[in-house]
Amino acid sequence: MYATVGDARIRVPARIQQGDIIPVHAIVQHPMDTGFFRSADGEPIPAYFIQDVTVVYAGQQVAHFRWTSGISRDPVVTFTLIADREGPLTIRWIDNKGAVFEQTAPIAFSTT
């Protein structure tokens, strides 16, 4: 019932002026299984969750999140960023099986 595990989106404002503190919304598709549940036929569902999130803006790491399976499935996170230069905003999610999911949004300033 998932789209695809690891599908990710980043949303930033459409119009950004240099120096704005902008909200950044990020979502990644992931079951975030705790390991406490069983499937319908009684088999334990092993823990499977995002545990490491890195935010890199124009080459500089600006934030790093350490998560557990206590984060809700298809994790969303909203944070802020000082848009002081143009460049890519890359978020990298790593799960407990070592899979790496990455998404990038450009930070560019409005000309008007």
Partner: protein, 166 residues
């Protein structure tokens, strides 16, 4: 996934404060911020597991209440998806003095130290929103550590109707 509305807990507490103030006219009044803090009920004493987490994170440093705002619903009907907002509008975010980490601790969850967020001055201000799972009714602690070593916290008691942890 539909967005879960956050009940305006902070506003509710403020209204409670206003009513309390009206009732307290004529009595000795403490300064506003202290009064506000005193009307928020204290969280329960940390259980052994939470106490150990706090000790590992902050050692013997005092965990003071203030500077941080933890906004969560008073009642979470679905423990699988409980919205969390953490902000610290009063704390500086400069190169010399900034919030360097935020910890979310849910006392009665199987893994109480639910998440940690390391941030830098590049985020401009501390403002985080995300969604968590909760097993049952419990206190939640949002604890902020600054680059100068100060530790600030806010607490919320959340009633959970449906166990979200299995």
């Amino acid at each position: 996934m539909p967005r879960v509305p956050v009940e305006p807990r902070r506003e509710f507490l403020k209204q409670g404060l206003a009513i309390g103030l009206a009732a307290a006219v004529g009595r000795s009044l403490r300064p506003g911020p202290l009064l506000a803090a005193s009307l928020d009920p204290d969280p329960e004493v940390p259980n052994a597991q939470v106490a150990q987490i706090l000790k590992d994170l902050f050692g013997d440093r005092p965990i003071r209440r203030g500077q941080v705002l933890l906004d969560m619903p008073v009642v979470a009907e679905d423990g699988r998806v409980v919205p969390v907002i953490i902000e610290a509008p009063g704390l500086p975010m400069t190169a010399e003095n900034y919030v360097k980490a935020v910890h979310l601790i849910v006392d009665h969850n199987p893994d109480p130290h639910l998440a940690a967020f390391d941030v830098t001055p590049a985020v401009g201000k501390l403002s985080l929103q995300f969604r968590i799972k909760m097993k049952r009714t419990t206190w939640v602690r949002a604890i902020v550590e600054t680059s100068t070593g100060e530790v600030w916290a806010d607490y919320a008691r959340v009633s959970v109707s449906l166990n979200g942890c299995g």
